[in-house]
């Protein structure tokens, strides 16, 4: 079957387009999302955009790759951004206004607990806020609930957008096990906080009175009974206090979650799905692409990271290995002294050259084989999603931990 080539994803055009205001990088863990987000941010900044990169990765990879020792909950200016470079060469795609003004790059790392605390402080009077912040259940919720990080990332994105200090926000989504958590978790948390079960359970007195409600209440008596068995009374009491303290905030919570969700659908937002050319990562990418489509959220394309790209791609692995074998046999013949000198074309080559060439040929064959598997895997994605544009980023020989490394990755964005 002939390879159907996907359309090419032009990241440079995306970042040059001033209408692009938010780029969300998503994908499963370990695919290099944070690095890609940082590389996009840097490249956009060096092309005149005022960029803030929001990362949520507690591993502080972005901090390291940007040469910063730490990031906190406020955007910090990243030093070392070239404001003069590359303007001329690719300026044609830009729409004139602002193209000549120097850009800037800020970066921040999400502190989810602090972000949550700030929302509480904003929406409740000081006494009540203090009461909520001290509640053990709130503390557990704000630091370890499965969706909190995603929810707070969205909240922060909303804040940054409202602040309107940057003309491009690049978001690196939380390192969820599944790429989809990012879309689902915020709603899960807000559904939970808003949930009937939670409210009925914690305020059973309110639903007394009418007969059918009494029946419902009896049912919840069983529920409470079981939950008490499982969790103990103390937990339920904490939850109860928390919910009554939070009561006035529910509207605000939902409103904010809705606002951010709308933001993700708004014109000016683009999603980039990042994947490595491996089964697991591309399977997640597939789900995500389909999901974005269902949600009518704008997908710009797939960034295929860590692709084997080989300078000697014209030498097939089979020929490469065969040649290595010839050299190996020549060496064995010479070493054994058993008259094997005729094995190679001309026996003039010395051991050092022979061993060097064997190493190079074996390595080449191995990497070609890996490249073939990668192409096959990527081909499956493309077959299922032929219209999704793809940009390939070559595998880097070394870890990226400075702006120069990020620039190198950014260079792969030029179509």
């Amino acid at each position: 079957m002939a390879d159907r080539r996907p359309p090419e994803l032009d990241v440079d055009r995306l970042i040059a387009d001033r209408r692009t205001r938010i780029i969300v990088c998503c994908g499963s863990g370990g695919v290099g999302k944070t690095t890609i987000a940082a590389a996009i941010g840097l490249r956009a900044a060096e092309r005149g955009r005022h960029v803030v990169v929001l990362t949520v990765d507690p591993a502080r990879r972005l901090a390291q790759s940007m040469g910063l020792t730490s990031l906190d909950n406020t955007p910090r200016l990243v030093p070392g951004v070239r404001v003069d470079a590359t303007q001329g060469s690719n300026g044609s795609a830009q729409d004139g206004n602002g193209a000549d003004s120097p850009g800037s790059l800020h970066a921040m790392m999400l502190d989810m607990k602090r972000t949550f605390d700030e929302i509480v402080e904003q929406h409740a009077d000081p006494d009540r806020a203090a009461q909520i912040l001290a509640n053990p259940f709130y503390q557990s919720l704000s630091s370890s609930f499965a969706g909190t990080q995603e929810y707070m990332a969205m909240e922060k994105l909303g804040q940054l957008r409202r602040a309107d200090e940057w003309d491009l926000i690049v978001v690196d989504t939380p390192p969820s096990r599944s790429a989809l958590d990012f879309l689902d978790a915020p709603q899960r948390l807000s559904r939970f906080l808003d949930g009937k079960l939670l409210r009925l359970l914690t305020a059973p007195a309110k639903v007394g009175g009418r007969a059918y409600l009494r029946v419902l209440n009896a049912g919840f008596g069983v529920v409470t009974g079981v939950l008490t068995k499982i969790l103990g009374t103390a937990v339920l009491k904490d939850v109860q206090t928390f919910v009554s303290a939070l009561d006035t905030m529910f509207g605000g919570f939902r409103e904010r979650a809705d606002y951010t969700y709308q933001l993700l659908r708004a014109p000016g937002t683009s999603f980039l799905v990042v994947a490595a050319p491996e089964d697991d990562a591309l399977r997640e990418a597939s789900y995500f692409v389909e999901r974005l489509d269902q949600e009518r959220m704008p997908l710009a394309g797939l960034i295929l990271n860590r692709v084997q790209q080989l300078p000697a791609a014209h030498l097939s692995p089979a020929r490469s290995l065969a040649a290595a074998e010839v050299l190996q046999a020549a060496g064995a013949g010479a070493g054994g002294g058993g008259g094997g000198g005729m094995a190679a074309g001309d026996g003039q080559v010395d051991d050092a050259a022979r061993l060097l060439t064997i190493a190079a040929l074996r390595l080449h064959a191995d990497r070609m084989e890996q490249a073939a598997v990668q192409r096959r895997t990527a081909g499956q994605f493309t077959a299922a999603h032929p219209l999704v544009p793809v940009a390939e980023i070559p595998a880097q020989a070394e870890d990226v931990h400075d702006l120069e490394g990020l620039r190198l990755i950014g260079d792969a964005f030029s179509a």
Partner: protein
Amino acid sequence: MATRDTDWDGVRLHVVTGKGGTGKTTVAGALALALAADGKNVLLIEVEGRQGIAQLFDVPPLPYSERRIAVGLGTRSHQGGDVFALVADPESALIEYLEMFYNLRHAGTALARLGVMDFATTIAPGLRDVLLTGKAAEAVRRKDAKRGRIYDAVVMDAPPTGRIGRFLNVASEVSDLARVGPIRGHADTVQKVIRSPETVVHFVTVLEEMPVQETLDGIAELASLGGIRAGGIIVNMTRPLDLPPGQLQAAADGDVDQGQLALGLKSAGLDDNSGLAAALAAELSAQARTAVGQQQQQQRLDTAGRPCYQLPLLSGGIGLAGLYRLASALREQRAA
């Protein structure tokens, strides 16, 4: 029974963690195959609901109950034992728990339909972990009147390195919430298993900066928790480069003798009329740079003082055959 020594004799619960993208599930699968050599029975448990094990072994999605999924690695003297697998989810575990302790199976199922399980594990995240680790602990301790222990070893494909401490430190996590009561008692039992010498936590990594950092952080975190034992470090996806040490650094610096390479190619019957020597030199140099970086990362790992095992990158993809290859590599290095 013990025909040979391994580094983990006496260990019955192998918890496998690793950063995303390092091949944690693959290594857990290979370890299960290796442990099931010599006719032993092994249970492989998945706790993140991804059905990664089913995909790895190419079997239909796994339920909460145990299924036989593969035969263990065969050796010269013995046929392999059986590898069983199950996917543990908190909801099923909670229903099972309610049944075991309160005979509440029907109520539990009904409550699950109401979303109560989701609710309970949401308001008490530690509960989720205690239920999942509880399932592994139960399998480790399970006995049969005639044959004794049902499983010789249990392998858990655990959450990633960043969450492993919290996941395993269930007793204190739960004690924040359930200060008293049955779940607390359950947590204490689980904790005894997790903190016993029969349990170790293996770290899967690749030789890159961040995964290595997370591995070192993870090992330090376990040490700080007290009583939870770090096992081995499994370095995954290594690619050997057969260059003499002196040449490696030179090649990494871009110093590959293209003249020699051209000669070598010529003597192997490959004509260098398309710049082949230069292209191969560039590939060699890039790989040498990677290898030098990897050596530095390996040195960092060595400071952890844990046994390290190397697993090769399978360039042609993993597949079942590849999984057995990795299993033999683990066995040869006495990881199992």
